[in-house]
Subunit: 181 residues, 2 copies
């Protein structure tokens, strides 16, 4: 199977510019000369945290998600602020959303959650040696903290109750990590 | 930790309506009465296929992705057409993108890849008992087929060379599946 070459970007038409992300139509020219367009979400990236507590329990959040119009059980996560490193963002988010500080951090994986439409990269961290601190939710965040055992989480992953991609991926990387330890 | 209640959608302002997806600003009212807004990508969902060949090899695609402006090695996948079931879409996509038909199909997982910004659900299938058929790429698709062994794929997952979320998740579900078999 031969490659047909690579399209070239010729124009960006901005459709939306927000504080957290932007949305544009990209016009491209194919190697054949034909023009076409794709839509792209420009996103600064996000940090995701799997906060591990004593007794192999995890601090999760149940959060109202506007897109799917329901409460979703997922890991604490947030969008990178201007010039913020993924690790710094991860530290900020577990404090804000679940009220913990962590002494040890391990990167599990960095990936594109939706490479077909978005520039977003997600950075998943395992946070260990936690100590409680005050929670500080941002405005427009509607969530509750839930402490979940490994056994409960495993059951919810296997039954399809966990539907959030970053949480599923974090769980699989954690399982791999503990088998290796 | 107490829930603060659930916001209510009060208005949808369409910013973009395309053939494959839409983009809108959703205005919401918080339980406190305060108004705020979120942006949402409305997406019909996608089917992803892990096509398993003899000798534990996989048929993958290296595809130019406008969002990240590079060629990405990933599994064949595509957006659900109007009224199309995920399985029908999966069957169409492995034929179009890698030139195979499969006799046996197994759903590995359904998940939200980016629940913070998009309604999209991805349905990942394992396709087995493959027979070759002609490829039929859609216009605006620039990709080449690559046949990759389990060993190669494992190495690329572990080294971070595979950066696409659906491909990582499919790989982990496959590993779980073969251990259970």
């Amino acid at each position: 199977v031969k490659t047909k070459g690579r399209p070239k970007k010729i124009k960006t038409k901005w459709l939306f510019k927000g504080r957290l992300f932007q949305f544009a139509t990209i016009e491209l020219r194919a190697p054949s000369g034909r023009k076409f367009s794709h839509q792209v979400v420009y996103h600064p990236g996000a940090a995701v945290v799997l906060p591990l507590l004593d007794g192999e329990r995890f601090a999760m959040v149940r959060q109202y998600r506007t897109a799917v119009e329901k409460n979703v059980l997922e890991l604490p996560a947030g969008t990178l602020e201007h010039d913020e490193s993924p690790l710094l963002c991860a530290k900020r988010e577990i404090q804000e959303e679940v009220g913990f500080r962590a002494k040890s951090w391990k990167k599990l994986v960095t990936y594109y959650p939706a490479v077909g439409i978005s520039t977003e990269r997600m950075h998943i961290f395992l946070a260990q040696n936690l100590t409680p601190c005050p929670m500080a939710l941002e405005q427009d965040e509607y969530l509750t903290r839930e402490i979940v055992s490994f056994r409960q989480l495993k059951k919810m992953v296997e039954s399809g109750t966990i539907a959030d991609g970053k949480t599923l991926l974090a769980f699989h990387y954690y399982c791999q990590y503990i088998r290796k330890r």
